[in-house]
């Protein structure tokens, strides 16, 4: 066991964990931030996507050792009142079905829009092809990202 210092959703956190523990399980089992989901454990589905130092990563394949001292944003830290443009767009497009994959999609979309505020359909498709939705919300996800981009650019 070793001690690690992380900044999670703007809060300083010091935790004890085995160095090879994936960030996913630190977030879920130690910090109780269960909005970040386990689904494949191999970086294949994107359900565990979080933002580390400004870039989206699969938290199931990033060890806490490698994430130490990083600035981490999870779905819980996106806004205080569910009013981030992505969250508002997700509501407007009524995106979720089972909802399990949606935090991962929203965090991938967050990464995309932070680098490309006005993405084309193709750019959305290629930026989010690492995220899997089993229920079939893809059509609405594309729509929501366009809504969010438009509100970020005009709002």
């Amino acid at each position: 066991m070793a001690s690690f210092h992380l900044i999670v959703n703007k809060k300083e956190r010091t935790i004890l964990a085995e160095p090879d523990t994936p960030l996913l399980w630190v977030l879920r089992d130690i910090l109780g931030l269960t909005g970040t989901k386990y689904s494949c454990g191999k970086g294949l589905c994107g359900a565990c996507t979080v933002i580390v130092n400004g870039t989206s990563v699969r938290s199931c394949t990033l060890t806490v050792d490698a994430a130490a001292e990083s600035d981490i944003l999870t779905i819980e830290g996106l806004s205080e009142n569910n009013d981030h443009p992505l969250q508002k767009a997700w509501k407007e497009a009524d995106v979720p079905q089972c909802g399990y994959c949606q935090p991962g999609f929203i965090m991938s979309a967050f990464d995309l829009l932070s680098k490309n505020p006005n993405p084309t359909e193709e750019e959305i498709n290629s930026a989010l092809l690492g995220n899997l939705c089993r229920c079939g919300t893809y059509v609405r996800i594309r729509k929501a990202i366009h809504i969010a981009a438009s509100s970020l650019n005009h709002g």
Partner: protein, 730 residues
Amino acid sequence: MKNTLGRRNFIKLTASASGALVVGLHFQSCAPQKEPAENFSFVPLIEIDTEGWVTLIAKNPEIGQGIKTALPLILAEELGADWEKVKVVQGDYNKAYEEQWAGGSYAVILNWDLMRTAGAKVRHALLEVAAQKLGVPTMELMTRNGMVVHEETERKIPFGELVAEASQIPLPEEVEFKPIETYGLIGKSHPQVDVEEIINGSARYSIDVHLPNMVYATVVKNPVHEGRVAHFDATETRSVHGVIDVIALDNGEYGGRLIGPNSPNFVNGVAVLANSTWAAFKGAEKLQVVWDNATSRKESTAGLFERFHAQLHETTMERQDGNVVQAKKRATSNVEYVYEVPFLAHVTMEPMNCTVDFRADMCEVWAPTQNPEALEQGLVKLFGLEPEQIKIHLPRIGGGFGRRYYVDYAMDAAILSKKMGRPVKLTWTREEDIKHDWYRPASVHKLAASLDDQGKITGWRHVLANASRMTSLGREGRPAGTEIDEYEFPAGFVPHLQLEYGHVLSDVPLGQWRAVGHSATAFAALSFLDELANINQKDPIDYFLEFIGPPRKVPVVGDYAYDAGRLRAVVEKVRENSGWDTLLPKGQGRGFAASKDSGSFVAEVATVQMEENNQVRILRVDAVVDCGIVVNPSGASAQVEGGILEGLCAALYGEITIEDGATVQSNFHDYRWIRLHEAPEIHVEFIKNDLPPRGLGEPPLPPAAPALANAIYAASGVRIRKLPISTQVF
């Protein structure tokens, strides 16, 4: 319209200490003359407090199908509630709720009357009290937006001011339902009730449950579907920091692999218990297990398909109309093709998991289950518990698709909690989830048609051979019953028709899936119809409509008739919406398919483009649906979009293969799922009518695969007779 609720439970009103009105269901277990036992059998359904806040209990498991929104909406509509002042709370499992499961697209169908009756009874009580207060007859009053309204005098009383008195009066035995044309909530789109929690990560799924003193567990199951643990070495596992214990799971100690007519027990394996999920996963990877697979038939997919093909010639008759042999002799031409569909997994995004707190007097369970009743029965069977000792919570579920109809993973968790004497959260890895699924049965279909000189179908023969999900694991029952039945389309539409079934016994675990049987039979039958249209050089939609004939009720079996008019209407509309009769650029093509499932009619047109490297790109899918009244259009459309994408995805990529009695696939790299860039535009339209709502979870799926295969043929001339498509076109 009068309520038609005549079941074992009845709706009863109770006043609470706070002055709120509480209405719920009483469950009469078996003896109608006896008063039901207190507490155990009463479950709340509606609570209205003195502030006018309405709390509605969502009774069925929410797997993403939107039922937690749809059923309360029906109740709120009948009550006349203000949806902005409605809170929806997920109910625990209780027999009094009845039909508390998610499967077969049945939830709205089965609860339509119950929800309306409950809402109407409470509305009636509120109206009576308001009538006294206002000094007007009850019949002059109505409820709207959480108030009782007297339109003539424009007087209004909010529900909150009526509940204290309303809770003191008996509910009427019979109530009138609201006229459908007065609906204000039903038919308008409402975001699902948990959307705020989903988008900020606070929605709690089973996998998110945390209990004090909880142990985290995972399992390593025998990869071979039938087999046992011979012995294992856990030395390395126990050296992993955080590992608490290692326990073998032997279903032989718990009634074997099958514990009820339709409830399979867990697969044998070894569980690792730890102080974190990661420690359990890491410990599991280090386990050295020697499996005893002496009893396994060491089946393979190739071997099973050989047996399916052979079994096409040795069948049972499931339906026989006229004489197909005579029809064949008299025909101008006869056409015959064979179609194949593979085993399919469910891959719910939330893997199998369950949290159990097994105490001396009570077994408390948090389970992502579509079938809480089977879970209760399993616990009764395995541990000899009384139903009163079992409490099952139903958190939000990360996808179901039929997988969670079976409760094997919950049995694992219950055994571990009992053995540990502590709460246990069991999480299966994705690998275990895929390898120990209950697969959609693979099947082989021989379709044969006899045609007259006009190309009209005079004879139809559909022979299906497979391992039946009915007899999977040695379950008893009529094997054909779950695979092809006498209702199968186009029964009733062809004078000479024969449906046959060839049964193969196998060890592969088989079970429910989204439109499980129909997803296979519709692919075969609707691809075949397209082939017949092309052979006759006719437009596939023209040919289909000629085949269906004019609007009428086509008798199929007993009282059941197929409404050809409703089917025609969705087909004609999808023809228009998809631009079916317009020209496409070279390399593109449209395919059509339509069917009925769970009482709903769906027609789909897929438009595809063949790319230079022989890849298929699905450009667009149009769907027209007649499911009767559409309760929540946004949620309903989501079901259609989801069903279509699942159908397309399975058609393109879905395939579970078996080698030496074990599943080959293990994660999303080798069980490929459709991704964002592959998802086409989807246009959905619902036919508007006032018919009772029918199922929607499954009906949009079956036409997707044949529409896609037919589109590929139109675009390229390549006929797909075997799924998945990626094994042939790509």
